[in-house]
Amino acid sequence: MTAASQGAPGFSLSRFADTILPKLVIAPTVLACLIGFYAFIGWTAWLSFTESRLLPRYEWAGFVQYIELFGNDRWWTAMQNLAVFGGLFIFFGLLIGLVMAVLLDQKIRGEGAIRTIYLYPMALSFIVTGTAWKWILNPGLGVEKLLHDWGFTGVVFDWIINPDFAIYTVVIAGIWQSSGFVMALFLAGLRGVDDSIIKAAQMDGASLPTIYTRIIIPSLRPVFLSAFMILAHIAVKSFDLVMALTGGGPGFATDLPSIFMYQHGFTRGQLGLGAASAMMMLFTVAAVVMPFLYSELRRERRG
């Protein structure tokens, strides 16, 4: 006798467990998602079309905030910084992570220890990273002073206080923190490559560099994609790192859109402008991520 026939036609425990329970369990998460993400996206979008200043106002005002945003020098500096920072951070993050992973993959001794050391920066918060690098890069305290003390008095390494170079210090600190994690991703990918593929390539006469560049690395495509997505979103939402390292300065030389948004939205009483900049960030992320997701999904369906 089955549970269904026992309970029919009224309440049935197995039916409850099969159909209603999963929905019930999922519901809070879905609700939190809906409110936490999509409702607030909607609210921000609405605010960006109003004249909100210190407090939200809800009268429609058209595109005034966007027009102001696009006329704002500081916004364009922030966007330019994001392009420089994002581009270099992602490129070198991937490159250094991949190279470290390939080197670690050579079955060297002490691999476990090295892997842990490389991964440690990821365990720190960006605030700690920013503060530490602020000291390291400070001309009066860190690398420059050390070199001067060693007798290399001609060395100048003042990027952090030079408006033209300050953004590169953010890149350095960001890469220092993230490349270990990228390495771990790639290393997992490399370890997943069937050993006999490498043996087959050896028998085909390929040298080790050729095996990596022609076979192994190209087959890590999905890992590249994941690493790219992770680095890209770290780049776009970077905030704490810059705040701790340079505070957006000197001047607003290292402003990023997230800092622009925070300062205008929450400290300068320009909620509408902040909302408009937040929407632009959302579109930036979407513009980067959508084509990738789309092409990957299409590949999967075709493949």
């Binding site: 085909d204 006469g205 022609r214």
Partner: protein, 370 residues
């Protein structure tokens, strides 16, 4: 002369000795099978021939050239792996061409070779696909194509069929055999499937625990296994091993088989010197199921077939024959009978044994008493 010579080859990792002195030699065009249970060192030996593992001691020569120090690409060999090992990011065509490209074969010649190989293996329609878009059997063909394209002096196969389903495995087995007959290349082929070993090989090396237990032609290994291990490993259903006391009568070996109620004396072939030393002692009688059958199925041209009575315990029909299990000297013994003569459990049957094919083994050393 020798296409492949393996002389006293050993392999150890630290204190664990994986291969304990292997000696094998085959001629050009022969098909050598390395067969044995999992972990006996077959792949290790193959990898050493390929140059993927180094040799702890001993010597390997391919086409009379010692290759111990040569890298895999200079040994003029090609290998097909168990997992196919196709390059996942390349099309089938690129997979086949890769080795040629590395060896700087001119483009036009590459095309020619690809076309020839694709035709041989009937994979012309798959050339533009990626490995992930192929079935297991198709991947297997591509892996073979990649090996064929190089036209090496020696082919190595490491359990190439073990990932295929039973039916496809039989098909591919036939195909590999045909390919070998057509191309006449020398092949070393690793398997743990004794049927594959028997059907494909010219020469079989039965391995266990890093040693070659016997090296010979399939028929030699089947008819005159050197020891209990080889006797039990080759043949399906496996050979019956019955403990008996050896006697001698008029120049013939005699054993007594007890079916539980009556001891019956069975006269085997003429006794040999080695066997005579065991008269009066316990030995092991080895009888293959097909040499123990019902009187009707027994070859009538055989003289002095020995008949004995037994009680059927289980019957297992296989279609053409029925396997009948009886108890002799306290051990379960399988006889291969005609379905009509198989009887049913509990019934008494008469079986005949071919005395010339029966083997005797020393239970202590496990060697056959020749």
């Amino acid at each position: 002369m020798g296409a492949l010579s393996i002389r006293n080859v050993k392999k150890s990792y630290g204190d664990t000795h994986i291969l304990k002195g292997i000696d094998l030699e085959i001629d050009k065009g022969q098909f050598l099978i390395l067969v044995g249970p999992s972990g006996c060192g077959k792949s290790t030996l193959l990898n050493m021939i390929a140059g993927l593992d180094d040799i702890s001691s001993g010597e390997i020569a391919i086409a009379d050239r010692v290759v111990n120090k040569l890298s895999p690409k200079d040994r003029d060999i090609a290998m097909v792996f168990q997992s196919y090992a196709l390059y996942p990011n390349m099309s089938v065509k690129k997979n086949i061409a890769f080795g040629l490209e590395i060896r700087k074969v001119p483009k036009a010649e590459q095309e020619e070779i690809i076309a020839r190989v694709a035709k041989t293996l009937q994979i012309e329609h798959l050339l533009d696909r990626k490995p992930s878009q192929l079935s297991g059997g198709q991947r297997q063909r591509v892996a073979m194509g990649r090996a064929l394209a190089r036209n090496p002096t020696l082919f190595l196969f490491d359990e190439p069929l073990s990932n295929l389903d039973a039916k496809l495995r039989v098909e591919m087995r036939t195909e590999i055999k045909l390919l070998h007959q057509r191309l006449g290349t020398t092949i070393v082929y690793v398997t743990h499937d004794q049927i594959e070993a028997m059907t494909l090989g010219d020469r079989i090396a039965v391995m266990k625990d890093g040693e070659v237990k016997q090296f010979g032609s399939p028929q030699e290994i089947y008819d005159t296994p050197a020891n209990l291990y080889v006797a039990g490993f080759i043949g399906s259903p496996a050979m019956n091993f019955i403990p008996v006391q050896l006697g001698e009568e008029g120049g013939h070996a005699v054993v007594v088989l007890d079916n539980g109620s009556t001891p019956q004396s069975v006269r085997l072939g003429p006794i040999s010197e080695a066997q005579r030393a065991f008269v009066g002692k316990q030995v092991i009688l080895g009888v293959r199921p097909e040499q123990l059958t019902d009187p009707e199925s027994a070859h009538s041209d055989r003289t002095n077939l020995q008949s004995l009575q037994a009680t059927v315990a289980i019957t297992e029909p296989t279609g053409p024959d029925t396997l009948v299990t009886v108890t002799l000297n306290g051990v379960k013994t399988v006889a291969r009978c005609h379905p009509r003569a198989a009887g049913h459990p509990g019934q008494a049957v008469t079986l005949v044994l071919d005395p010339t094919k029966a083997l005797l083994f020393d239970p202590a050393s496990e060697k056959r008493l020749a």
